[in-house]
């Protein structure tokens, strides 16, 4: 899916080379793996499965997982993930809801399996080298069909009387379709007596969430957002419903409903996310200047272009346009007119990678933004320049560099959000190969 980046003019101007401090990142993640996370993570207690995924997968991406843990630890981690497996299929997001032996028909609604947590639990098991044989695959897929709402989108947990609880945005469509992909690939129709999810409806649900500007939002008419856009596009990958021009094998005129109804517009929106506005003060300054210019009507050559914060009149007339200093660092924002944030570097580059268009952004300045502005001295990445690292931004910062081919970081499988190595292991699982092989043989017969 990746293309070679065109050389960036900006890189010619930088004297110092930005570097990924490999050792510090390993130390940061090993600390997270081997010691308790500080109590401030309590507000993320219910996301422990995703935090666990970030920690283990980051060490895998850095090439330090195999050498960094003993066989006993590896088995212990796998056991912990299975400990969170739900008796009726799927995984809990944390052990905190587990009622143990007191669980019964009346109280089980307080201890449900969780869709994003199940996606991360399966990924975590694959990264740890488990073969998923102890996953209650049939129950999990059966539960998954119950997590899809009548309009096509997925929820987070199953509640009282089978009601689907939680949001209704593309995060759940993404993780739900990812579970299906890991457990049954691109197979359509029933498997082992378990019906498929309604793929067409999920695609339709994604399509009506496209905003007027080409981004994708939480629901129809909500504001376009890079996170929801990434999740939608990765879901389409898992469902085999990307726009035809994005397929590696070229157009396939098979009349199925596909997602991203106006690819050029979505690319325009994604490309628009790159910004040199890195903090609220910059945003404020550029808005102030422009409004002032508009008010005083002295706007002949005074307008400060928000993504080009240099007054045109200050630029000497030359054949080649020198890039202003500030453009050396350009991050990604998540919505129009917001500031750059590490996680959107991932959501945007990831979406573009899946669409096969990573080459429309400026990778060099994005890389420098991550390495010079949000990479932290103790390892990891913070949300914005100067912030301390947290697991979420630290993982997505590292993942962005992996997507862009950073040396010393494993290559990345974007939709599954882990290394290509892990994806190779998933594809090599015997039971999965057989399941998919049998289905292919069967479809050829028909």
């Amino acid at each position: 899916m990746a293309h070679d980046p065109p050389p960036s003019a900006a890189s010619l101007l930088t004297g110092e080379e930005s570097v990924l401090n490999h050792t510090r990142h390993i130390n940061y993640w090993r600390r997270c793996l081997k010691t308790f996370l500080p109590w401030q993570y309590t507000s993320n207690d219910s996301n422990r499965m995703s935090l666990a995924f970030f920690i283990v997968s980051a060490l895998d991406l850095l090439g330090n997982l195999d050498s960094g843990i003993s066989a006993e630890e590896r088995q212990g981690f796998i056991d912990w993930v299975y400990h969170c497996q739900h008796p009726d299929g799927g995984f809990r997001a944390f052990p905190g809801t587990d009622l143990g032996e007191l669980r019964n028909e009346e109280n089980k609604i307080w201890d449900p399996a969780n869709v994003p947590a199940t996606f991360f639990a399966l990924g975590l098991l694959i990264v740890l080298g488990d073969d998923l044989q102890k996953v209650k695959r049939r129950e999990c897929l059966m539960w998954l069909t119950k997590m899809q709402r009548s309009e096509g989108g997925f929820g987070e947990t199953l509640g009282e009387d089978g009601r689907i609880e939680g949001g209704n945005d593309t995060r759940f469509g993404y993780t739900g379709s990812g579970i299906r992909y890991m457990l049954r690939g691109y197979i359509t129709g029933p498997v082992d007596g378990v019906p498929d999810i309604d793929v067409d409806k999920l695609v339709q649900c994604i399509n009506i969430s496209e905003s007027y500007d080409g981004g994708i939002s939480e629901a129809p008419f909500h504001e376009a957002h890079a996170g929801f856009t990434h999740c939608a596009i990765s879901a389409l990958y898992f469902l085999g419903r990307l726009p035809e021009s994005s397929l590696p094998s070229g157009p396939r005129h098979d009349d199925v409903i596909r997602g991203i109804t106006n690819l050029p517009l979505t690319l325009h929106w994604l490309a628009s996310r790159q910004t040199a506005i890195l903090d609220e003060e910059d945003l404020y300054d550029s808005a102030e200047d422009e409004l002032e210019a508009a008010h005083t009507q002295t706007n002949s050559s005074f307008v400060k272009l928000s993504s080009f914060p240099l007054k045109p009149r200050e630029v000497p007339q030359q054949d080649t346009w020198p890039l202003p200093h500030s453009l050396q660092w350009a991050g990604m924002n998540g919505r129009c007119n917001k500031i750059a944030d590490t996680c959107y570097a991932f959501w945007v580059t990831g979406a573009l990678t899946v669409l096969g268009h990573l080459n429309i952004i400026d990778r060099a300045s994005l890389r420098r933004y991550l390495l010079d502005k949000t990479q932290h001295i103790v390892g990891g990445f913070g949300k914005v320049a100067g912030d301390p690292p947290d697991l979420y931004h630290a993982y997505l910062g590292l993942a962005t560099l992996a997507i862009m081919g950073e040396s010393g970081v494993k290559s990345f499988h974007t939709p599954l959000c882990f290394s290509q190595d892990a994806n190779d292991r998933l594809e090599a699982l015997e039971w999965r190969k057989k399941l998919i092989g049998d289905w292919q043989t069967e479809s050829l017969k028909n």
């Binding site: 003019a9 308790f36 996370l37 500080p38 993570y41 309590t42 507000s43 993320n44 207690d45 996301n47 088995q75 212990g76 981690f77 056991d79 993930v81 052990p95 905190g96 809801t97 009622l99 007191l102 109280n107 307080w110 201890d111 449900p112 975590l124 947990t157 009282e160 949001g167 905003s211 007027y212 500007d213 080409g214 939480e218 008419f221 909500h222 504001e223 957002h225 517009l265 325009h268 490309a271 808005a287 422009e290 508009a294 050559s301 307008v303 272009l305 993504s307 045109p312 009149r313 346009w321 453009l327 919505r335 129009c336 007119n337 917001k338 080459n359 429309i360 952004i361 400026d362 697991l391």
Partner: protein, 308 residues
């Protein structure tokens, strides 16, 4: 804060400690005792499906420490229903809690459930206004606002005026622009979008662009309106050229005007040279961050795909 173990009011409950599954838990957190204990009592009362006043206090304490706990909210809702609890009191409790946890999804869902049950939007628009003073682009608040408008048919209840005031305050607030689009084009009450409404929206966007031409939000908006109305972007050619006189590059005031011009030229017969010129201006001078994108657009000239 007193511990539950020493509180006689909780003496009948046997706490259920967390089972973290063996010696190698992942992402284990150094919980404070207060949290561990409250969670142990929560599991114990959940196991008994206890519906009581004291459970409300317990859920409140846990929400204060971990508002993302997805079943504690559902449990609380069920207790409120079982006790026929006064929902106005619940809403009054939620207000400061929402302010404390601006980015939490569950709080907004809970609020939605309660306001839905109350069957009244009284005070909600004022509450939202207060939230937006803290953060005028909070995604959850805007989503909740859309739900409220649809649920209580507030289409003509001052929403458009609020959006206009917010845009006057910050013309770059894309969330406000999006809400405007929802109010005008997202109505589900059978009101048809008339031509004069489309004209009004185009004029409003143009007026805003005149005040601040290098603001992408209204450019996206007006292009969205044209697409909705199935009008060609070429109808904005003169307007865009006013902010991007290609013959006098020193007077160019908006990269977004150049972007639109390039799009218009790309669709016009025999104008690909002009399109190339505009895209070169963008790539080389007016929006070099996106040089790769503008060059990609050049490579697409002549093919049928166009973003407009």
């Amino acid at each position: 804060m007193t511990s539950y173990a020493s509180d006689p009011a909780w003496a009948d409950i046997e706490p259920l400690p967390q089972d973290d599954g063996g010696p190698h838990p992942l992402a284990a957190i150094a919980y404070k005792d207060e949290y561990s204990e409250a969670m142990s009592y929560l599991r114990a009362v959940m196991a008994k499906n206890e519906m009581s006043e004291r459970v409300l206090g317990l859920t409140e304490r846990i929400i204060g420490m971990n508002p993302a706990h997805y079943t504690v909210w559902l449990y609380r809702s069920r207790v409120l229903a079982a006790l026929s609890y006064d929902l106005r009191t619940e809403l009054a409790w939620l207000n400061p809690t929402a302010l404390k946890h601006l980015k939490n999804y569950q709080i907004w869902h809970h609020r939605q459930t309660i306001v839905d049950a109350l069957d009244s939007a009284d005070g909600e628009q004022a509450f939202i206004a207060g939230m937006m003073e803290q953060d005028a682009k909070n995604y959850h608040v805007w989503s909740y606002r859309q739900w409220l408008v649809k649920r209580f048919a507030l289409w003509d209840a001052g929403e458009l005026e609020i959006v206009e005031a917010m845009l006057q305050h910050d013309v770059r607030n894309n969330s406000a622009w999006n809400h405007r689009y929802f109010l005008v084009f997202g109505r589900d009450d059978g009101v048809v979008v008339e031509q004069k409404t489309i004209d009004r929206e185009i004029e409003y966007a143009k007026e805003t662009i005149r005040k601040a031409p290098q603001n992408q939000a209204p450019w996206n908006y007006v292009r969205g309106v044209l697409r909705y109305a199935k009008l060609s972007p070429a109808s904005l050619k003169e307007f865009a050229a006013g902010f991007a006189p290609v013959e006098r590059p020193e007077d160019i005031k908006s990269s977004h005007a150049l972007d639109l011009l390039a799009e218009i030229y790309a669709q016009e017969q025999g104008k690909s040279e002009e399109a190339v010129r505009v895209l070169d201006l963008l790539a080389e001078k007016y929006d070099p961050i996106r040089a790769n994108y503008w060059n990609f657009r050049k490579s697409q000239l002549g093919s049928a795909s166009a973003a407009a």
